[in-house]
């Protein structure tokens, strides 16, 4: 049932990309550990792509763990739940890691909450009854996932129930579980695959059931051997848990940005999404391994999404760790738990070093999309001198979308929108490979982001 060789049509790699030093060893060996409860949580009402949720609790209301505190507004939106029991405070504004200011519900955490270890076991641990999946009503799955407020945990935080709603116009034949985690440093997904392979498999099968897909493909970078072995074992144990659905593991070349869904689909399945299209255009639904566990917990255990695994890592942190964290926990609480910053610490990033956000304020809360906290030192940041563009073309060679970043950056700088459009600026997914390799240290992707934001819509 399980095989690790890519299918014949699947190349196992994609065009372009870079190999930044992975530094995964800093945190990869540490099992997921529950973070002691903070005294206060700050839970933003919009942690997903789509419409913000509307708060539905009064100030000073007593909250139980898992109680809904904000209602999804519209289809592309997600409910927000109280991660721990406590007392709601008056809604306040908070600056999240990306720099956006959002309304949030502060919660004073009650003293009598059960420990984090229990919530970890309840959500990810224990035995998973995979046989029950075949008895689920496919159309009932998406509403259950919506009820739990699940949003993608790979980073973009797209509401998962939207992807699980079967569309007649775009049938899905393959559920692609994304376990690539190509960002350097981060190990949260790796740990989830090692420690909760059954939950990952359960979530993937539930997704296949909801979409009537006949095939589940788990894509993992080849260097994550422990994760691969543990998933293989889980698949073997499960047997044919869901009749008519095949499950396979595909090992992909470790390569950044392998985890970008267009790249994963191309490498694992050999399918190419048309310009401006979604994975559903090629019959594929991509789901992150963490999101799989959240789907499984929501559907089989009725648990809302209130916690997630966060890697705290980098040479600027005293004791790297993989933590089970209630959503809304201030990042400074995680850093303090990990022994604080070292004297060399220079930059604290929410996410990884290629696409993460630098934090100016460590009180920003963990959200559904926070996969890690990476603390870089001066030596990691480097100091390459800026020169003029020598038009070496390296940026184009590493661009996974085959764009010409030097031209796009030039167009953005000079607000030449015709040039920007003729070079497909909106195709850029902002992976940052171009800036990473530029010998002249030109902030290419940074300029392109500005250009994408300023491009006049017509």
């Amino acid at each position: 049932m399980a095989s690790t060789a890519p299918a014949s049509s699947a190349p196992g790699h994609f065009l372009g990309g870079v190999h930044p030093p992975a530094h995964k060893a800093l945190a990869a060996a540490f099992p997921i550990q529950a973070l002691p409860h903070p005294k206060q949580l700050v839970v933003p009402i919009q942690q997903h792509i789509g419409a913000p949720a509307t708060p539905c609790v009064e100030a000073r209301a007593a909250l139980s763990a898992g109680q809904r505190i904000a209602e999804a507004k519209g289809f592309i939106s997600a409910h927000v739940h109280a991660p721990l029991a406590g007392t709601a405070q008056k809604p306040a504004n908070v600056t999240i890691a990306s720099g956006r200011h959002l309304p949030a519900i502060p919660i004073t955490v009650a003293a009598d909450n059960p420990g984090g270890e229990q919530s970890f076991q309840a959500t990810l641990g224990g035995h998973w009854d995979l046989g029950a999946i075949a008895g689920l009503e496919p159309s009932a799955i998406a509403p259950q996932v919506a009820e739990a407020g699940v949003a993608g945990m790979g980073g973009a935080a797209f509401p998962t129930h939207v992807k699980l709603s079967a569309q007649e116009k775009a049938p899905i034949d393959t559920v692609l579980v994304n376990g690539c985690e190509c960002e350097p440093y981060l190990t949260a997904d790796d740990r989830v695959m090692i420690e909760a392979p059954q939950a990952v498999l359960a979530g993937a099968l539930i997704a296949a059931r909801a979409l009537a897909a006949g095939r589940v493909v788990i894509a993992i970078e080849q260097d994550k051997t422990r994760a691969m072995a543990s998933l293989k074992e889980a698949i073997a144990q499960a047997g044919q848990a869901l009749p008519g659905v095949s499950v396979e593991i595909i090992g992909l070349t470790p390569h950044y940005p392998m985890g970008g869904e267009r790249q994963t689909i191309r490498a694992a399945l050999g399918r190419i999404i048309p310009e401006g299209g979604l994975p559903s255009a090629v019959g594929t639904m991509v789901i992150n391994v963490g999101s799989c566990t959240a789907v499984a917990a929501a559907v089989l255990r009725g648990l809302p999404m209130t916690h997630r695994v966060v890697t705290v890592t980098g040479r600027g942190i005293a004791q790297p760790a993989n933590l089970w964290v209630p959503i809304g926990t201030p990042i400074e609480h995680l850093i303090a738990h990990c022994g604080g910053l070292t004297p060399q610490a220079q930059r604290v990033i929410s996410g990884g070093p290629m696409m993460g956000f630098a934090l100016g304020n460590l009180s920003a809360p963990v959200t559904k999309g926070t996969s890690g906290i990476t603390v870089l030192t001066d030596a990691d940041l480097g100091d390459a001198p800026r020169t003029a563009c020598i038009r070496c073309g390296r940026c184009g060679e590493v661009c996974p979308m085959r764009l010409v970043p030097s031209r796009l950056a030039l167009a953005s700088r000079h607000e030449n929108w015709d040039l920007a459009r003729s070079h497909h600026i909106l195709h850029c997914m902002e992976c940052g490979c171009c800036s990473y390799v530029c010998p002249a240290s030109i902030p290419l992707v940074q300029w392109i982001r500005v250009g994408k934001a300023c491009l006049p819509r017509d």
Partner: protein, 341 residues
């Protein structure tokens, strides 16, 4: 990450992602690789031309660097001598001139290369034409006597420059054309850097392997030149039975190993600033270059056409870039109808 997009916020450094940068290749390193790749060519030049080559290389490189300093100062720019680009221009210019170049001519060539070839366009990365070739073309036209075919010959100098350069021979002299071995190793008269095909190949392959030079350009250029030589032979047999035009009667190996072709293919045509961005564009560029070189060698009064060909092709690079925008992954080629609307 460079300091100008980072700032400090409550003791933390912040800036947009990516937060790490590939430290292995900088602009300076690119130029350093070019200098390393040029070293076999420089060694060959010194081997064959001796002290004349040494003094010319030193004079022109120093003048180019001085000019870079002067012009950046005049424009109030920081002087980026450390990036090594002025030194690269100087060495390529020196290697493209004959050993017999008079000192004043060499100085004028350097001044034009940096001033007219680079500074007026805005400095590094902004120039439309290869700076060394601009300097070379300026003095070729201005001092025709010193730099024409006969200018290469100096009966008083080292033995090698007492002979005529191969390409300036007439078709009737084909019998006395240097042997392939002499052409390949470099024992014949010519510009400093162009005589040894061997040295240019060694350096050029290093550049391609390091990914600094785009291999598409030399490969396409040499292949196209070989094809054109065959066409020339057929044409020569038909229209030039008296063997007046040398270029119509050369064998493929003679055509490829003569003149500045191999040196230029690896070191001048691959200048990233003045060649197209995309792979397709580079192939088009090299094809055009081959055609122009062949036309100039065959039908003009100049024995070698590389310099003018490269300048002409440089001028159409923006046009080539415009028509060879790479198609992103997943994009459909635009139909003519869509493009018009």
């Amino acid at each position: 990450m460079s300091a100008d997009i980072s700032l400090s916020c409550d003791g933390l450094s912040v800036g947009p992602s990516p937060h790490v940068h590939d430290q292995s290749l900088s602009t300076q390193a690119v130029m350093l690789y070019v200098l390393i790749a040029l070293s076999p060519v420089i060694t060959a030049a010194i081997w064959f031309f001796g002290a004349m080559a040494v003094s010319q290389l030193l004079l022109i490189t120093a003048t180019c660097m001085l000019c870079e300093r002067l012009f950046t100062w005049m424009r109030g720019q920081p002087c980026p001598l450390s990036d090594g680009s002025a030194a690269v221009t100087g060495i390529i210019l020196a290697l493209s001139l004959p050993a017999t170049t008079p000192v004043p001519v060499a100085i004028v060539a350097s001044l034009t290369a940096i001033g007219l070839g680079k500074a007026v366009f805005g400095g590094l990365g902004m120039n439309l034409f290869n700076p060394a070739m601009v300097g070379r073309a300026f003095v070729t036209i201005s001092f025709a006597a010193a730099l024409g075919g006969t200018g290469y010959v100096d009966p008083q100098g080292v033995e090698i420059i007492t002979q005529a350069t191969p390409l300036s021979m007439s078709g009737a002299q084909l019998e006395s054309y240097p042997s392939l071995l002499h052409l390949f190793v470099g024992e014949h008269n010519g510009s400093l850097g162009e005589v040894s095909v061997l040295a240019a190949l060694v350096g050029g392959l290093f550049l391609c392997l390091k990914g600094v030079a785009a291999w598409e350009i030399p490969v396409t250029l040499l292949a196209a030149m070989a094809l054109l030589t065959v066409i020339g032979q057929l044409l020569g047999a038909a229209i030039d039975p008296d063997m007046t035009v040398l270029a119509l009667h050369l064998r493929i190996d003679q055509a490829l190993c003569s003149g500045a072709l191999v040196f230029g293919a690896f070191f001048i045509a691959t200048d990233p600033v003045t060649s197209p961005i995309s792979r397709r564009g580079r192939v088009v560029f090299a094809l055009g270059l081959a055609l122009l070189i062949w036309i100039i060698r065959t039908f003009s009064n100049y024995p070698e056409g590389f310099m003018f060909a490269i300048l002409l092709m440089n001028s159409v690079v923006p046009l080539i870039n415009r028509y060879t925008i790479p198609l992103p992954v997943g994009a459909q080629p635009q139909t003519k109808k869509e493009a018009a609307s």
